[in-house]
């Protein structure tokens, strides 16, 4: 069926909303990122000439460092998150008694839905000055005033969302693996760990990559977690954009950083989905 007049009428509210609140603003942001900025003013002049300086600035070590830090911490948090989420999802699906399953799954859904503010504040309380888990980190050799401590806290903040999200994503994946394949591998003499490595893991690869993708894109665009837990010493790209806007009103520079972050996020999402679809066709 071709889109008739009725369909176009139904699409018009969404068309207006997405054009007016998203696509045109994004185009505007792109144009703004090429404007010359005069220090001291708020934003650029309406007819300011174009320049590439806002992007050139991002190649300097101090700016590139922010991008590198964001990607490094995000990658670490995503991998650690998967490392915990996989056994957790496996345990819920295969070892947990059937009557406990809905309760545990409900708990994880609640944990995933939890407000990012609540999460961040709760971690700050728990690991902060009087927090009960602070001695634990000190015990394993992380000094409370070091950058390592702050970085660990930021990773903990990201993990607090990534683990429930990845666990729930992997539940469906693991439920789709026929347990008889694993049994067959064992019957043929493979120890459990070899059977998991050779059978379970490869069959879950698609789910693992999907969970990694969610975790990684969530992390690189994180805002509240590094803003509060990072204490100004660990800054993510999102925080940098906000600082450019709120503290020095350099909109063109903020726009350039935004465009780069946007391109990185889109490239990761489409690149990885493409890879997953090509390699593991369903």
């Amino acid at each position: 069926m071709k889109p008739g007049r009725g369909s176009l009428l139904l699409l018009s509210p969404a068309g207006a909303v997405f054009l007016g609140f998203f696509f045109l603003p994004m185009a505007g942001l792109f144009i703004e990122s090429f404007r010359i900025y005069v220090p001291g003013s708020i934003g650029s002049k309406a007819d300011a000439p174009f320049t590439l300086a806002n992007y050139g600035e991002l190649l300097t070590p101090s700016f590139a460092g922010f991008f590198f830090e964001t990607l490094r911490i995000s990658l670490l948090a995503s991998l650690v998150g998967l490392l915990f989420a996989f056994p957790l999802a496996y345990w819920i699906t295969r070892s947990l008694a059937a009557r406990w399953q809905p309760i545990v799954i409900g708990l994880f859904v609640t944990l995933m839905f939890l407000s990012v503010l609540v999460r961040t504040y709760a971690l700050e309380l728990t690991f902060g000055a009087v927090g009960p888990l602070r001695p634990l980190l000190v015990e394993i050799g992380i000094s409370p005033n070091s950058r390592g401590y702050i970085e660990t806290l930021v990773i903990a903040g990201l993990l607090h969302y990534i683990v429930p999200m990845a666990t729930l994503t992997l539940l469906g994946t693991i439920q789709n693996v026929d347990p008889r394949l694993f049994d067959a591998a064992q019957a043929l003499g493979a120890p459990r760990w070899k059977a998991h490595l050779g059978v379970t893991l490869p069959l879950c690869m698609r789910g693992l990559l999907a969970a990694f993708l969610f975790a990684f894109t969530f992390s690189i665009s994180a805002f509240v977690i590094p803003m509060i837990l990072g204490k100004g010493r660990v800054l993510f790209i999102s925080n940098l954009i906000y600082t450019r806007f709120s503290e020095i009103a350099n909109y063109p520079s903020g726009a350039a950083i935004s465009i780069v972050l946007f391109v990185v996020a889109i490239a990761i999402v489409y690149g990885m989905s493409h890879l997953v679809n090509k390699r593991w066709k369903t």
Binding site: M1, P3, S7, L8, L10, L11, P13, A14, V17, F18, F21, F22, M26, G28, L29, G43, F84, P87, W91, T93, I105, G106, V109, F113, S115, V116, L117, V118, R119, Y121, A122, E124, L125, T126, G128, A129, V130, G131, L133, V163, L171, G172, Q175, N176, D178, P191, R192, W193, T217, S221, F223, V224, I228, S238, I241, Y242, A255, S258, L261, V269
Partner: protein
């Protein structure tokens, strides 16, 4: 046998990891819930010597928080209503199409989900100030509609995909007009999905910081933005009280979701369940 030994060691490591991570996920929540009822006027170590509701009273006597709460509530109700209407209309239109661009159209409508929220907020701020729109509430409303609409569109699309088309066709053959078939057959069948989309959208709107912080003005700000600013200023336990109330709200939303849609449908289920 060494294979067995490795198995047992790995199983133990796995169980320890599961225990550790569950403790890690739950401890902060328990700590916050206890601290919110702390009767001391300062931030002291656990456990509190006695319990009280002073931080809740403090929260509700603070105009700064109450104003944010009012704005957040209005904003969530208004933006979710608009997003649900837009989402339902869009999903029904897209579902009826079968031309090649359908998939592309859907990913266009879902694209705000992959754009970092700070970028969305910043772009909207620049655009609206070029247009001369500087009223805080209008700006926030625009922002909240664009971050919630993808959720309502996606949820309605999922619901429609699960409906047998022959039911609608049967109604049409039996003489119902297209409009009547929609309201009497298709819409009731899609209702649970629309509800779950609305709940998602409500949660997103109530929780957002990154978009809202860009669009607030001096007098119009949301509760999360108010909480963030006071979190940076001083570490006051009335935020713990607010956190307890937000957690309760989350739990209520999950219960509604469970009762109306069943969580199994929200998270998807595999074939080989134990």
């Amino acid at each position: 046998m060494s294979g067995r030994l490795v198995d047992n060691v790995l199983r133990l490591v796995g169980l320890v990891a599961i225990g550790t991570i569950i403790c890690f996920l739950l401890t902060p929540i328990v700590v916050t819930a206890i601290m919110a009822f702390d009767s001391r006027g300062y931030l002291g170590p656990l456990p509190p010597p006695s319990l009280s509701l002073r931080w809740f009273q403090r929260f509700f006597s603070d105009d700064y928080f109450l104003r944010g709460l009012g704005v957040s509530a209005q904003l969530a109700l208004l933006s979710v209503t608009i997003s649900v209407c837009v989402g339902v209309a869009t999903a029904f239109a897209v579902e009826r199409m079968s031309f090649a661009g359908k998939e592309a159209l859907i990913s266009l409508f879902l694209s705000p989900l992959v754009v970092p929220p700070v970028v969305t907020g910043f772009a909207l701020l620049l655009f609206l100030s070029h247009l001369g729109i500087i009223d805080g509430f209008t700006r926030l409303l625009c922002g909240h509609i664009i971050i919630t609409a993808p959720y309502t569109i996606r949820a309605t699309l999922t619901g429609l995909a699960g409906i047998d088309r022959s039911l609608t066709e049967a109604a049409l053959i039996l003489g119902a007009t297209e409009r009547k078939a929609f309201w009497d057959v298709t819409f009731p069948l899609a209702r649970t999905s629309i509800v779950s989309g609305a709940i998602f959208a409500f949660a997103v709107s109530m929780d957002d910081v990154a978009v809202s912080i860009m669009l607030t003005d001096a007098k119009t700000y949301t509760l999360p933005v108010a909480l963030i600013s006071s979190m940076r200023a001083n570490f006051d336990l009335s935020i713990a009280a607010a956190s307890v109330m937000l957690m309760t709200l989350t739990a209520i939303l999950i219960l509604i979701l469970e009762k109306s849609v069943s969580l199994n449908r929200v998270i998807g289920q595999g074939v080989f369940r134990s």
